[in-house]
């Protein structure tokens, strides 16, 4: 078994396909799956031109693995000359004059961008229902959500439109949709992938990453996008590991921590059973399962829902109708310009978080909310540090449920936030984590989350890859057999 990217790369090198063929096929699949609403923008001309350039590079020999491979970018990454909406009416017509570092690096590796994937507005949401452009749908069941906020990226990969897509993860926005759509989603360590050109939601938590069919695909993409970027002061200047080279590392003797807190009351029975079966599989492959405790796990949601909105309230102040983005018609005064442009440009969830965040940073409330949340954040990070003294990886369900129905939680923000229970702590601690397909419950995919210490992406990818060498959950596709 080999990865989708490796297979395509081989066929390109064997001249069985050209990059132009792959781009045309992908564009055709995108049209075929238009009902999924997985993309906000598809730019056929740009895609075909990029494919032609990739074919020239391929003809020259020795090329990176991603050369000629099609992808979609989450519409949060700025693309020079291609509109970048962030799923918002506010940026409906915004065309950036520059590329995000992730976009630049993938283009440099010869990957072919088809367009931009649907997402929750400003990456705020767990269902993709908060997109101004309408929800993306789950290819496994069109009445269900694909997860969020990188819902369009997950749907596009799961439906086979593209072999991989970029995403961002602030509280689970790569891993949860990957779990809901039955694919692999990697959230790297904070600082491993540059945030330059990635529209900010919560700067201390936002992390660019990848959604693809398997861990090997993720390794190829991470190898292309990871590394120091002087344009991002939070980007870490340290060497990038050989993610592809270490994939064959055996699971023998790897200690995997199982935190009871990740199997709490909110976890559906089917999800719990499926994840335990996957853990048993890992054990069979030589891993040692160790019970661990993450005592502050239940504080992650409240801490996250103070810190993320606080940062967002400030990050989203720039959308004021003055320089770019949505501007209300015929403003009567400066205040009217601000109020109506923002009232019209932002959706309900974005407004809710701006209000919550503004409140948390206000004089008189700052200590009780923001500062306390930062202290909790340190406790949560310490929990992980302690746990990683005993184990190499930590495992649990990525999400407590399988993909829920459209509209099911749309009017209950707290229920929606609770769905992030197993993912947000990882962002608060800045750690790398991956969600891999672990089986099915009620006919819907279930994700297994593996968490590693900071900058141990290679360990994470190798473990996931070993699991995928011995299981085929990641090869299941909607509407068909493996």
């Amino acid at each position: 078994m080999t990865s989708a990217i490796a297979q395509l790369a081989a066929s390109l090198r064997a001249r069985r396909n050209s990059a132009l063929d792959l781009a045309r096929q992908a564009l055709a699949r995108a049209r075929e799956h238009a009902a999924l609403n997985a993309t906000i923008t598809v730019d056929e001309g740009a895609a075909l031109a990029a494919a032609e350039r990739a074919d020239l590079t391929l003809a020259g020999g020795d090329t990176p693995a991603l050369c000629g491979i099609p992808l979609v970018h989450k519409d949060i990454f700025c693309t020079n000359g291609m509109r970048t909406t962030c799923g918002s009416r506010m940026l409906e017509g915004f065309v950036p004059p520059y590329d995000a570092t992730v976009v630049e690096r993938l283009a440099g590796a010869g990957a072919v961008t088809l367009g931009k994937a649907n997402m929750d507005e400003f990456a705020m949401g767990s269902s993709n229902e908060n997109s101004f452009f309408g929800p993306a749908l789950n290819p496994w069941d069109l009445t269900r959500v694909p997860g969020g906020s990188s819902g369009g990226s997950a749907a596009a990969v799961a439906a086979g439109i593209v072999p991989f897509a970029t995403g961002t993860d602030t509280g689970g926005s790569i891993r949860q949709p990957a779990a809901f759509c039955g694919i692999t989603g990697l959230k790297p360590t904070y600082g491993r992938v540059s945030r330059w050109g990635m529209v900010a939601f919560a700067s201390s938590l936002d992390c660019g990453g990848v959604l693809a069919r398997g861990a090997e695909d993720c390794a190829h993409v991470l190898a292309a996008i990871a590394g120091h970027d002087p344009r991002d002061a939070t980007s870490m200047d340290r060497p990038v590991d050989d993610y592809v080279g270490v994939l064959s590392t055996s699971l023998k003797g790897i200690r995997i921590g199982v935190a009871r807190e990740y199997f709490g009351g909110g976890v559906e029975e089917g999800v719990g059973t499926t994840v335990r079966a996957a853990l048993a599989e890992l054990e069979k492959l030589g891993a040692l399962l160790v019970d661990i405790a993450l005592p502050h796990a239940d504080l992650a949601i409240p801490a996250y829902y103070v810190i993320a909105p606080a940062e967002a309230s400030s990050n989203l102040s720039r959308y004021d109708g003055v320089r770019y983005g949505h501007r209300c018609s015929a403003p009567q005064s400066l205040e009217d310009l601000y109020m109506r442009s923002r009232a019209e440009g932002f959706g309900a969830e974005v407004k809710r978080r701006i209000l919550v965040g503004t409140y948390a940073l206000s004089a008189g409330y700052f200590d009780a909310y923001y500062l306390r949340a930062q202290r909790v954040r340190r406790l949560i990070a310490n929990d992980f540090t302690e746990a990683f003294r005993q184990v190499d990886l930590i495992a649990g369900p990525t999400a407590p449920t399988v993909a829920f129905k459209l509209g099911e939680k749309a009017n209950d923000p707290l229920a929606m936030y609770a769905a992030d229970v197993n993912t947000v702590a990882v962002n608060l601690a800045g750690l790398p984590a991956i969600s891999i397909p672990a089986g099915f419950s009620e006919g819907m995919p279930v994700g297994l989350q593996l968490i590693a210490p900071a900058f141990a992406e290679a360990r994470l990818l190798a473990a996931a890859h070993q699991f995928q060498q011995h299981t085929d959950w990641h090869l299941h596709v909607p509407g068909g057999a493996a």
Binding site: C78, V199, S313, R318, L361
Partner: protein, 511 residues
């Protein structure tokens, strides 16, 4: 030295004013605090604004280390603590020329804290001013209200320009002290080459916090903040007005409200801009885009090694080692380029081996040269620079050229009076002193035979004046000096001429 914070006599009777200044000095770094865009003044609107300065989505700030180093230079100059880790914070508020909706500043952990600066006040006292903090922050853009009809234009060229905000403790007690402090800081930031000090362009401006209290009271009164004053004179006038306004109000039994006020230069008064109830809640929090700014001991040591001799030290040296009067020393040290010019002149003069014969003897051998050089730099040269509105760094007469001229005065080749003509010729570009003296035949006549012949000719020409002089009209001595100078085309050695004249004129009658 330091005076206690007593109320010294003012026109406000038993009231004491308490003033603290927040000075905004624009750091003269080539690029902005968080982007690579140029900080040059006066470009076409919005041509020096990068995607970061415009705050496009997805852009991120990266700190400019050059600006940080300039802030540290200031900190070292005022003996302050330099934070090994300082933290950038966001100050959130909406304004059309504030593109991000927040200003990146420093709040809880500024780069510079707890400094002190000795300030000489007009009345001769020296006060010791505590500088609570100096922090880095970015400037906003500009709103232009008169460029278009019924619309405000935004120019973001200034957006992101690095500023150092220097905050004094509330320890100043009169407009004169406040202005003296502001001038001292102004001299210092230019001296350190961290700010061009250009107040017209807004590179150096200040907010003044003013309150008053009864003499002897230790609790601070309610303060008003006067925003954005950009000249020394306006600061003085604004504070003066504000003290009077507050004293008048309190004496009428009114309360002072905490508020922000603007100075109206046309009417020399302040007026309310916004009250406390309208004060912004800036929602400061550490900027998550910027990790704490680290400074190593090696960084600090390197910056320290590159520090110039500070103005106060140099002024003291001019007084003690060169024997210059306090006023001369202070004036020379009001500007580093002037002080450097003076020292270059002095060094070149020493190289000429000249020692001004008739000058007062200093404590060191070079003392008289120092006074001569100081007089010329602060006199003739300053006047010429002023008239031509040329800065001393672009002076038409170099320090070496001036030194040669002064050497010719020192060795008696020309008189001080002739030297002024030679200087004017040098300024006009006619060459150096020796060339001009030779070309114009200005060499002083010190040949006593030639001088005596000239004097005899004059005495023969003016017998009546000679008789009057001898009858006791000693004012006529100057008449004869003038005539002799005229006959020698000004080239007579004045001392020699005087001596010879007295000798030839003979004794005056006893009156």
């Amino acid at each position: 030295m330091t005076m206690p914070h007593s109320s010294h006599p003012t026109s406000h009777g038993s009231w004491q004013a308490v003033i603290g200044l927040e000075i905004h000095a624009q750091l003269n770094a080539a690029s902005k605090l968080f982007s690579g865009a140029s900080t040059a003044y006066g470009a076409e609107p919005n041509t020096h604004a990068s995607v970061i300065d415009v705050a496009l989505p997805g852009t991120l700030p990266v700190p400019n280390r050059a600006a940080l180093h300039k802030a540290i230079r200031f900190g070292l100059a005022v003996g302050a603590q330099i934070a090994r880790q300082s933290v950038f914070a966001r100050k959130n508020y909406f304004y059309p020329d504030l593109p991000k909706g927040y200003q990146i500043s420093q709040y809880e952990l500024p780069v510079v804290s707890a400094g002190r600066l000795a300030v000489r006040v007009e009345d001769g006292r020296t006060i010791d001013v505590e500088i609570q903090r100096a922090h880095l922050e970015e400037d906003a853009g500009k709103s232009v209200h008169d460029a278009f009809h019924a619309a405000t234009a935004i120019d973001l060229n200034r957006s992101g320009t690095p500023l150092l905000e220097i905050v004094s403790a509330p320890v100043l007690h009169s407009p004169a002290e406040a202005v003296a402090y502001m001038r001292t800081v102004h001299t210092l930031v230019r001296w350190l080459d961290i700010c061009d000090g250009n107040m017209q362009e807004g590179s150096f401006r200040c907010d003044a916090n003013v309150s008053v209290r009864r003499a002897g009271e230790t609790k601070l009164g309610t303060r008003a903040e006067i925003k954005n004053v950009n000249s020394f004179r306006f600061v003085e006038k604004a504070i003066e007005y504000e003290i009077e306004r507050q004293v008048r109000a309190l004496e009428n039994g009114e309360a002072i409200v905490q508020e922000t006020r603007l100075y109206d230069a046309a009417h020399h008064r302040t007026r309310s801009m916004r009250g406390k109830e309208d004060a912004h809640d800036y929602r400061y929090f550490p900027d998550p885009d910027l990790p704490p700014l680290s400074v190593s001991s090696a960084d600090i040591a390197a910056i320290e090694a590159g520090m110039p001799e500070l103005p106060a030290a140099r002024r003291a040296r001019y007084e003690s080692a060169l024997g210059l009067p306090e006023a001369d020393a202070a004036q020379l040290c009001s500007d580093r380029a002037t002080a450097d010019y003076f020292e270059a002149t002095l060094a070149a003069l020493a190289a000429h081996g000249a020692e001004h014969a008739s000058g007062a003897q200093g404590r060191e051998g070079s003392g008289s040269n120092a006074k001569l050089a100081a007089n010329w730099v602060l006199g003739e040269l300053a006047a010429a620079l002023n008239e031509a509105t040329v800065h001393i760094e672009a002076s038409h007469v170099s320090a070496a050229q001036l030194a040669q001229l002064l050497a010719r005065v020192g060795d008696g080749t020309i008189s001080g009076k002739i030297a002024k003509d030679v200087f004017a010729a040098m300024w006009a570009g006619e060459g150096d002193a020796d060339t001009i003296i030779a070309a114009r035949g200005l060499r002083q006549i010190s040949d006593s035979g030639a001088l005596a012949a000239a004097i005899d000719a004059i005495l023969a020409e003016f017998p009546k004046q000679l008789a009057d002089y001898r009858a006791g009209n000693d004012k006529l001595l100057q008449f004869f000096v003038g005539q002799a100078m005229k006959r020698t085309k000004g080239q007579a050695n004045p001392q020699q001429l005087n001596a010879l004249l007295r000798e030839r004129l003979g004794p005056m009658a006893e009156v």
